[in-house]
Subunit: 773 residues, 2 copies
Amino acid sequence: MNGYYKTEPWSIVEEGFDPSMQEASESIFSLGNGHMGQRANFEERYSGESLQGNYLAGVYYPDKTRVGWWKNGYPEYFAKVPNAPNWIGIDVEIAGEQLDLHTCELHDFRRELNMAQGYLERTFKVGFRGKTLEISVRRFLSIKRDEVCAIRYTIRSQDFSGSVRWTPYIDGNVINRDANYGEKFWEMEESGAEAGTGYLVARTRKSGFVACMTMGYVMNLNNHKIDPDPEVVEKDDYVSNRITADLNPGDVIVFHKFVSVLTSLDHERSVIVANGRRILNEAQAAGFDSLFEEHASQWEESWSHSDIIIDGDTAAQQGIRFNIFQLNQTYTGRDERLNIGPKGFTGEKYGGSTYWDTEAYLIPFYLSTAPQEVARNLLIYRYKHLQKAIENGEKLGFTGGAALYPMVTMNGEECHNEWEITFEEIHRNGAIAFAIYNYIRYTGDIDYLAQYGLEVLIGISRFWRQRVNWSDVKGKYVMLGVTGPNEYENNVNNNWYTNKMAAWTLQYTLEALDHVMESDPARYDAITRETGLHYKKERAVWKDIAENLYFPYHKNKDVFLQQEGYMDKEQVMADDLDPAQRPINQHWSWDRILRSCLIKQADVLQGVYLFEDEYDLETVRRNFDFYEPRTVHESSLSPCVHSILASRVGKYEKAYEMYLRTSRLDLDDYNNEVSEGLHITSMGGTWMSVVYGFGGMRIRDGLLSFDPQLPGKWKGLSFKILYRQRTLHVHIEKSRVTIENLHGEGTDLYLMGEKVHLDASGSVVADLAPVEK
Amino acid sequence: MNGYYKTEPWSIVEEGFDPSMQEASESIFSLGNGHMGQRANFEERYSGESLQGNYLAGVYYPDKTRVGWWKNGYPEYFAKVPNAPNWIGIDVEIAGEQLDLHTCELHDFRRELNMAQGYLERTFKVGFRGKTLEISVRRFLSIKRDEVCAIRYTIRSQDFSGSVRWTPYIDGNVINRDANYGEKFWEMEESGAEAGTGYLVARTRKSGFVACMTMGYVMNLNNHKIDPDPEVVEKDDYVSNRITADLNPGDVIVFHKFVSVLTSLDHERSVIVANGRRILNEAQAAGFDSLFEEHASQWEESWSHSDIIIDGDTAAQQGIRFNIFQLNQTYTGRDERLNIGPKGFTGEKYGGSTYWDTEAYLIPFYLSTAPQEVARNLLIYRYKHLQKAIENGEKLGFTGGAALYPMVTMNGEECHNEWEITFEEIHRNGAIAFAIYNYIRYTGDIDYLAQYGLEVLIGISRFWRQRVNWSDVKGKYVMLGVTGPNEYENNVNNNWYTNKMAAWTLQYTLEALDHVMESDPARYDAITRETGLHYKKERAVWKDIAENLYFPYHKNKDVFLQQEGYMDKEQVMADDLDPAQRPINQHWSWDRILRSCLIKQADVLQGVYLFEDEYDLETVRRNFDFYEPRTVHESSLSPCVHSILASRVGKYEKAYEMYLRTSRLDLDDYNNEVSEGLHITSMGGTWMSVVYGFGGMRIRDGLLSFDPQLPGKWKGLSFKILYRQRTLHVHIEKSRVTIENLHGEGTDLYLMGEKVHLDASGSVVADLAPVEK
């Protein structure tokens, strides 16, 4: 669908309506505000293909596990974000006929996601018995008042005379398409409707989360408020008003629907209806324009520090803004109980649960674009799940406080049920350890170790210690039966990346132990007591493993080998494939994928990226040159790392190709699956591919370091970075880079390899190295 | 539950009723006759735990696949033998109260499976308000008239006076406990009832098999026929008569229920009701005693050539008879459309479908105990599925007529949906090739190659050719990503057994090609045309692979290595385990099982057993000594092979232990799962452990060879063998073996390593070698 949407710097625009694209567009045009989010379903009834989706942050349903064949250790349920009662609905009838964009005579359809101001707007004309009505609909989820949604539904008659009926409603009769057993996730608890308003209270089954949606509306005819008597409908699972008005040629009726959406995460059940009513009333009293204005200014403020400006490449510009916009509307960092699901609020897939994506791809984004507390909250989320991670380890037979964090979770319990993932994709444990290190090296908040970090590190190290075993044959420790980030290999032995994460964690835990022992002996004693740590014994074994773990290596090519036996595979490169066979996960049987040497995302490069300091440039280059041609990038998490490394080794064409692939993954639907939702978590990777890749940003010895280079097409690149109470502005041009200290004290930093000092309110400039041809 | 059932040579007996054992006993006491079979559910209502099961051979339902996570290549459905309408039901009320053995006052309960005559009988006393009734119930599925079932339900009043009501019924309101989506598998099509009779016609959904059950009954009071007016109930899914009679102290009422059970495999829909009525009437006219007599004589005839007599060890004797009895009541070889499911007619698990068990464990049994046509029919079953096997290969990306036979099937289509099994447990293809070879070497029917065998071999060889690839690293062909018979390892590289089966198949196909080319050039040309065989090219590649396939090997111990990397595992032996942890598949998480070195069934020993001629005794012994201690025998198919090899290497204690384990697997419930059904297919392995193991039978150069030895406890062992139109009787004593030619021409054979001639009606005797201590 490359090119289906218009390429504009601040908007995503669809011109003309293609029903076969509707589910894709519902994903692309999604709205959210951290508290809630929704796919771009139409307000009025739509009989074509559509995936209805309204989601509430932190609200989940434990859907009973469905398996083909049960394996010991599988969890009882998969936590899913339930599709919530539909609060956007407004049925429209024209002269008694339902307006339905799938069947009506439709002209001049245009849909826009305005990222600068955070709203969704549709305009179109409807032909009706030879007459024409002009319709425009604007909707936003207030990012200022995050429990409020407002819709403005405008109908102008060109030459139509007749009645129009609006039926704003809240409908609890919703399903999840991915429900394992077709169960309903909600039960209705209370409803009420009267003229001008209605509300619905629903409770998720089993998990008992309560949601209360309350609606109101205001109508204007040619700028004058009108208030026809509505027909009130009140059922257990559905409330509505039906309002009819006559329309004559030239008339404009503007129908505003206001909704408040509250959950029991923030409101007691006993007051949720009253609170919902109050919040609705306040919003309605403020009015659409005023609500919109405060919402748009909030977005303006957000962009003022998170925008990235790319000069000379609108597709790239649109791509990065789309990614930043989606990240900022998915997670605001206000609530430490929340995390970020791979699809955010844009689809059902992956259940809205937390994956290793957060630690591996989002922590860097939030570290640099949000206050320190945001990343810290994401770390504490895992700290609070430590006990559950230990229990998860116990379910698999590990003992003595060994923590295996879940692959997929809402509340710390494992949700996933595929043995090769659930039990074997254990590198996630390493990502959680690495995030602690990453947070501390960026923020300098070393006290985090004593407060929270060390306990997590001990639990994870204990896991690694039990997960490896000694091999007499190799004279090394080995780790058998794992799945790396490259999920196109399962149950392999000695996955280089997983072994790397394990050895690194053990080493870092030893350092962390020593640090806390010295810096905070009382806390160290407390942790030792609580965890039952046997310093001498455990330390010795961890050290031994860290130093004697086996790493597969390919002598011929002098590269790290993804796993044992990888070179036994037939070496067919991605470029050798018939393009009609791609993505292979949609064209090949699973066993063919497993047997091929093709890589979903390159484990070794992921490790080289994380531990780049340990390798010289030639090593990085050799590994990149070896793995890139074997990688099909069918994980959304793949291209960003390749883009960063390509920048690192000076392959700017490749870096740019990979950048477009990550930043426009959804807009151009590379993997033919955007209808299921957007790849929210990989959007953090897109940000990294700009800032770490083209921006060449790193942390070196606790200082920021920049070594930027622009892809050929770009004239300029600017972004801001929050760093230890400072705001820096980075502006990269073809031949030079300027870094300005917008806010905060002076600091040293590395620029093009040289240490320089940046004064408070000062700036530094450097020439770029010429690009190798 | 070792010891729960009494050890008798011809019966399985339960004394006293333990409701917690009911589902296990329902499996153990199962009845069948090749056409149908059933678990030992009670006739009267039972409110305790019970798995109802009535099954019809060849009737299946395509149950929509259920998966946790879909993998490309999975089949759409799993074929399952549906639990058929209940045709044994007779509700009994005593003075208006339902008789229910779960709640009533029960005394002197005894249940017997009489294997000599093939019936099930229960006797018990019921206390009722201080009075006592004596009840006995006998049931059999006629092995002579395989569409007929008869039940004799006798009630004698000791001191009870009052009414008794019998409600014989047919009930279509049945479910499969293992239905993927709780769907009903049957829809009711027709029913009818009148005084004295009733019938039900049901059709399986989707697959459209029709079953018609018709019942009648006859009552005697104190040996005089009575015929009280019944209350007739006729519903769509249930028909019954309710008959009430008065019982006084000393009275005996005998209630006979007769049922005919017909399916559309044998009867047109238009006549099935009339045929069912006719067959019922004939049976009823013959009467219970006469039906039973003809049934019992048929069993007697069957035992006369299939019995194995063990002298001096009742547990072993009971074990082998139980196995032979179950095999003979599951499959009679009369119908080439049928095959044998792992649970036969004794449970729902595995869906009643065909696995590689047939070729690997049952062909030998039928070759030696049944006419040649029976084994040949089982081979032709696969020949008829060749096209489906090619299509199955295509679904996975194989081309050019490469055949991958399904792991699990009813009609040739793959049913299983676990990637590590469905796509990877491909050694099944080898078993199907080997069965052709095995059939021919036993029967001498070499023409089978030209008629059917060669086409199958070509398809399978083409699969192996594509499934391997060349490894530059090894300078050998490798086979990556497979699961061997040891399913406690998944997705391994170069599984020794699978590679062995592949190399052997390629070699045998070359021999078969040459044989048919010479012996039947016209047929050879036809096969070449039909299969598009490119003799020169394909032959050369097959030969190259057969000669250059990689086989992992453990140098230190000089043993064949199960798979690459096996020795990297922690080497913990089965005897080192806490017994409370066994079976490990019920106590360990799946990843712990996968990572351990413990073996479900030993691949290498399976291969050594099949190709024993290729290895000297020391090689067999070394491999046995290496793998036996690592094997937990949690596959029912495991102990028999170990028993045979233990006999081969002179470890008779171990052979005996393994023999008891295979022959009494269900009776002693070694794996704590008999409630799910019996391990029917492994019973062929039990037979092999006696005849191939202790009997030391082999085929050598087309001749039978015997090299027997008895375990210490046994005084004698006798069995009969059908071999190329001859019936031989083998009688083994402590110090000598006698082979008698009961029927057929004279033949050469090997006895204790010496070639001898056995005359028509003659016998040969040899001394046994003394047992090494």
